[in-house]
Symmetry: D2
Subunit: 262 residues, 4 copies
Amino acid sequence: MHNGIAMQHVPKLMDAELRAIDFSADYRLKEPADYAQWYNKTHIDLANLEHAVYGLPELYRERIASARLVANPGCYPTSAALAIVPLLQAGLIEPQDIIVDSASGISGAGRDPKPEHHFPERHETFEAYSVGKHRHMVEIERTLDPYVRGRKCAVIFTPHLVPMERGILSTVYLKPIQPVSVEHVMQVFAEAYESEPFVRLRERLPRTNEVARTNFCDMSARVVKSRIIVLSAVDNMVKGAAGQAIQNMNVMFGVEETAGLI
Amino acid sequence: MHNGIAMQHVPKLMDAELRAIDFSADYRLKEPADYAQWYNKTHIDLANLEHAVYGLPELYRERIASARLVANPGCYPTSAALAIVPLLQAGLIEPQDIIVDSASGISGAGRDPKPEHHFPERHETFEAYSVGKHRHMVEIERTLDPYVRGRKCAVIFTPHLVPMERGILSTVYLKPIQPVSVEHVMQVFAEAYESEPFVRLRERLPRTNEVARTNFCDMSARVVKSRIIVLSAVDNMVKGAAGQAIQNMNVMFGVEETAGLI
Amino acid sequence: MHNGIAMQHVPKLMDAELRAIDFSADYRLKEPADYAQWYNKTHIDLANLEHAVYGLPELYRERIASARLVANPGCYPTSAALAIVPLLQAGLIEPQDIIVDSASGISGAGRDPKPEHHFPERHETFEAYSVGKHRHMVEIERTLDPYVRGRKCAVIFTPHLVPMERGILSTVYLKPIQPVSVEHVMQVFAEAYESEPFVRLRERLPRTNEVARTNFCDMSARVVKSRIIVLSAVDNMVKGAAGQAIQNMNVMFGVEETAGLI
Amino acid sequence: MHNGIAMQHVPKLMDAELRAIDFSADYRLKEPADYAQWYNKTHIDLANLEHAVYGLPELYRERIASARLVANPGCYPTSAALAIVPLLQAGLIEPQDIIVDSASGISGAGRDPKPEHHFPERHETFEAYSVGKHRHMVEIERTLDPYVRGRKCAVIFTPHLVPMERGILSTVYLKPIQPVSVEHVMQVFAEAYESEPFVRLRERLPRTNEVARTNFCDMSARVVKSRIIVLSAVDNMVKGAAGQAIQNMNVMFGVEETAGLI
């Protein structure tokens, strides 16, 4: 939310030899140029930016365990990265042709009471916003990049607002490099997530209310014509925010990873 | 809404020999003392206050027709007065023991985006507010007073907020002076409203969505033990506001009363 | 829900010397005649009906502790009884002039998908139902009766449906026998509930979302003209149903009363 | 809705030299094999199927004017076809790489009260359904086919359910054959729809509540990396159903096309 604040305070915490989980976006993008471009600010704490670890335990558990500074991921990137990384890692999909079409409950828009989120304005409408301009687009790309050697990913990200309190569903369109079956896709996910306490692979399609108030990410896939479609659901305020921070804290301090979480 | 503004401008309109319908509460309460007490302001236009007509056509059609200044009623008082006046006028009920329990959609709270009406806060809750302190309580009482000779009415008014866009349902508890049948109650209403284009008496209970986006007031009654219960539904933004203003305008200008209204 | 089923099975459970908490209405009304009148069935297990205990721990904790059969209360009666009993017990209010105006989320209407609860029909409407005919009216009366020696209570009960998932708010209108201050009313409640883990007295008005997914009953009071108004909020599926059953089970088995409950 | 019924009755209407607008899907797919595959029924009225006209006035106004039988389009295909045809016709986009990601209010699921659309189940959730299997996928493809000479279109269609009463937003991902600017895309739409009374091109993104209860289709476009994104909003019950039928009727009978419509 209040990006730009954390990087003023983190140096003091690090100097005091404390460990921190940053809820803002200040330490999510490794490239200062990305930060400058998407957040309209010059990053003022490059030293700590360098060693900060992106806090998606399913991808970086070991580095989080020893990290001094963890950048807690954005809500949309959490739902998107979990749906894409295993397929990218398995070399199944084209990294330059990724479409992430997401929809979020209104709590994702923050706590400030804006006219467009006033109850009577919002109760009965659906819309896209920030198409091609949302900051989470670059966050998704940078999260995926390490999984394609020597290339960059290109993600088209379209967020929408759903008249509900909480929940994100991402519908991700991926282009297989070679024809692939849905069974194979699900097998790749099963191997990637078999030990994960918070990822649930499902045959049927995920629904946001089945992950509401939990730290789960529910996921399913379909193959339709020339595309793999992966659907993933998280609670934007739990796995997409505070719950994931607790999960990160558990990993950092070596306690049971599921402690305090449902 | 912006009470206190209209009374600054109405004198100029009246001086220019124009006619006006005031949407604010400035000319609804005949007693300057009531206005001072409930709106925390001294009324500055007593001359026009005196001849202003309360714009409930079902009660004051003839006076509205020739009025120069019409005070458009509040939303709750519209639903309450229509449910009570005929029974008071028929001498059936005790004027000192009236309970109006109302519930309104959130548009009734105005357009300003307040934290408590931010979508995620409001989507899944129900609550009462301003219990015993809402300004419409005195407006209802003053609207009823003329129908009991020489006495005052005492109304207990409890508004609630419903997580929907629009609509008011008032559940009105009235004490019959003598035992009465529901048939008799409905007969009194039928006689009072038989020529009214916008009051619909119903055997079944009214629902707010059946009057949504219309100028209708749907009404039904039950007799339960020691009370008559009258239920009335209006759209707070139509019969409870703009639609009623159009109805008043039609009456003032002698055009078809239903013109431009559904 | 499926009233009439439990009384076919409870005798077997009692014969087997088991203890039971009945979720249906079969053992809530002590008088077989009441059951016959309101549920259109002849009670077939009078023996167990006689020793069944009404499972409102705030009223009957000691009897529940040793009960073999507990009748878990209805959702509306829970919210109403907690709001009324202390004032009745203190002799402050008139037992024949009680109005309970309640509003419930749609889960209160059960799981069967009826046309009137189909999402598009329900999303934007508010209405009363079963006015003067709801079975919980007699359940409330019979729950209150023991607290007025030698007299009967008369309750007018008006339930409404709110387009939200869960929650009940009851707005209860009570007539003080002598003029009373709101401070005195709150003091009576404070004494009645000071040791209760699940009753929260509040100065500000209760909201259903503040008790959602909890076993709490939030309560506040106002005095307006000739009435005490008590507002109480519960989650109809927790304190109004399953949570209260767990609370009863805890009392019956002598474990911490709050175990497993929030 | 009740597909398979209309084709039993239409022959009689045609024999009686009447004209008809069919609300079902029976006459939308020109190929009997498509109908058999997607509706699991053998088409029994091939004679009338052949001359039936697909009732999208923006595409087939002249043929509708003289048609004896009009097949009123599905809700999703209306929103999709209007967003795609002009670009296909202009030769700007790849016909084999079209993704239509749509979201609909719950009225789109029909009037039958199913468990999954029971209010408490639906109020706070978002989900995709029938991914790659929805019958409107083939309807969209067949509607687009005539605009690519000698080739077939391939559409991936993913519908979602939004907890609101009405409205469809389609987010359409199209691959330009050559790099294109958003200005050029909007220019193509402007030329295609400049005389259309019910298509509104907008710079800002469309919202479903801005077309609710109207026959409008609001549309906007963006170019993001390798894709054109077109967003189109309709009311599924008006432009997506009954309103379009009225528009077709107006065209068929030569009255003002906007008569009776907002």
